[in-house]
Amino acid sequence: MSTSKISILVVSGSLERLQMAGMVASVGAVSGSEVTVFLSMNALQYFIKGSDTSAPAEGPFGDVMAQKNVPPFKSLFENAVELGDAKIYPCSMAMDVLDADAEDLESYLSEPLGLTKFLNDAADHQIWTF
């Protein structure tokens, strides 16, 4: 089994992008890739416990998808961690801007990470941006 490394940078708060990022994270992680996810900007808010998880669609596909029984994007990120040992890091800058503490976040997230460390770690990874 290959041990490719995938880094996923998620900044969008749109349903389609969060869904696709969750799909890449979960399927990549369960298929033997070492997956690292970095959540920042508009993406991080959904991973604060108790937050509204109904992300807005950015196009007609998202509107249709919202009516179908697709796995919720947060479940996909959790699957990536639970079933595939992915690591999901909240961006420390975004944490500061939102005035959020680590204990405010979903328990399957890892500790906050700075961009410098993320970029260093990602130097030999595929990088996907959503």
Binding site: M1, M23, V27, V30, G32, N69, V70, P71, L83
Partner: protein, 76 residues
């Protein structure tokens, strides 16, 4: 004694059936089989791809009235 369990993932879209299969297979013993029922065409091709990649064994994949019955044997 090898067992066969069934997971009903009909009605869910990719990668839901695959995730349900993986969660289910973790609970089985080596040699056991898992049958996934899926109405999602993409999953019918994606699940065998995953099984081959990670090294489990495809037992069968049959379609009946729009439902795929995908049977996987846990090998490790």
């Amino acid at each position: 004694m090898a067992e066969r369990k069934t997971i009903d993932a009909r009605g869910t879209f990719c990668p839901g059936p695959l995730m349900e299969l993986i969660a289910g297979i973790k609970l089985l013993e080596v040699g056991d089989e898992l049958e996934v029922l899926s109405s999602d065409k993409g999953s019918a091709s994606d699940i065998p791809e995953w099984v081959n990649k990670v090294g489990h064994e495809m037992v069968s994949s049959t379609e009946e009235d729009g439902v795929w019955h995908i049977v996987v044997r846990k090998t490790k």
